[in-house]
């Protein structure tokens, strides 16, 4: 039987990998992929707590997180496609349209 702390450490490690992808990479597509990784690592934590406490609420919140993530990905990729149509770049430090 796997102890709870192993799951939490795995979640933390995946979250840190996702954070480093968001903060370090230049390509906005990779930034979005790393964001997905972060959300998924949080789901591991939720399901692990749900399992070890014998409570369904963690799984239910994880289901909601997955649903909201699907919506977020659709919107983010739509924004990205519209953005690339106007300004042909995918690099995060060149996307400064909102800057005054």
């Amino acid at each position: 039987m796997v102890p709870l702390s192993w799951y939490l450490i795995l979640g933390a490690v995946l979250f840190i990998i996702g954070v480093s992808g968001v903060l370090l990479r230049r390509n906005v597509l990779i930034v979005l992929l790393s964001l997905e990784l972060m959300l998924n690592s949080v789901n591991i934590n939720l399901v692990a707590f749900s399992h070890f406490h014998g409570d369904f609420r963690g799984q239910i919140i994880a289901i909601f997180v997955i649903a909201i993530t699907a919506a977020e990905v659709a919107i983010a990729l739509g924004v990205l496609v519209a953005l690339v149509r106007n300004k042909a770049t995918l690099e995060v430090d060149e996307l400064t349209i909102l800057k005054g």
Binding site: M1, V2, P3, L4, S5, W6, I9, L10, A12, V13, L14, I16, I17, V19, S20, G21, L23, L24, R25, R26, N27, L29, I30, L33, S34, E36, L37, N40, N43, I44, V47, S50, H51, F52, G54, F56, R57, Q59, I60, I63, I66, A67, I68, T69, A70, A71, E72, V73, A74, I75, L77, G78, V79, L80, V81, R85, L90, E91, V92, D93
Partner: protein, 169 residues
């Protein structure tokens, strides 16, 4: 036995997660993320929640990654191969990452609450879909409906965002 499986899944998940961040080609990143999501689904199975493993496979592997692959194919990403990482602000980002990881791991490894928690019972009905669906459709019915409205709004929003205006054709 279960620990060996957990270690295998965790190892592949962290390895492919690192590949997501390090890979030069965005297609490789997306495929590495797909591997990582499959491992996370297997970890959900180890946690006796098969319904979440199925949802994970359907939504993430079946929909999200495929959407990403389509968008990567639509956009021209050949130029991005040359520079992987940000040019400026890298030092601040590395400091933030190191601080965050030290903090999280110190919190997890140093807490005795978690080691006390690790010998908790596993009730049999936790792995059934029945209890989960009863909880989801009675106590959490209203958030469920809100989630469906959010999905509808995202659907309409994505269509409007990517639609060209009539003058452009």
């Amino acid at each position: 036995m279960e620990q060996a499986f957990f270690l295998l899944f965790a190892l592949v998940a962290t390895g492919s997660g690192t590949m997501v961040v390090v890979a030069r080609n965005p297609i490789h990143s997306a495929l590495a993320l797909m591997i990582c999501f499959v491992q996370v689904a297997a970890i959900f199975l180890l946690l006796r929640s098969p319904i979440l493993a199925v949802i994970q496979m359907f939504v993430y592997v079946g929909a999200v990654i495929i959407l990403f692959l389509f968008v990567i194919m639509m956009l021209d990403v050949r130029k991005e191969v040359q520079t992987r990482f940000l040019k400026q602000g890298k030092r601040v980002a590395i400091v933030i990452i190191l601080f965050l990881s030290a903090e999280m791991l110190a919190l997890l490894l140093g807490s005795d609450l978690l080691s006390a928690r690790s010998t908790v019972f596993i009730s049999e009905e936790m792995s059934s879909v029945r209890g989960l669906s009863i909880a989801l459709f009675t106590d959490y019915l209203f958030p469920f409906e809100i989630a469906s409205v959010i999905l509808l709004a995202a659907l309409v929003g994505a269509i409007i965002l990517t639609r060209r205006s009539k003058e452009e054709g």
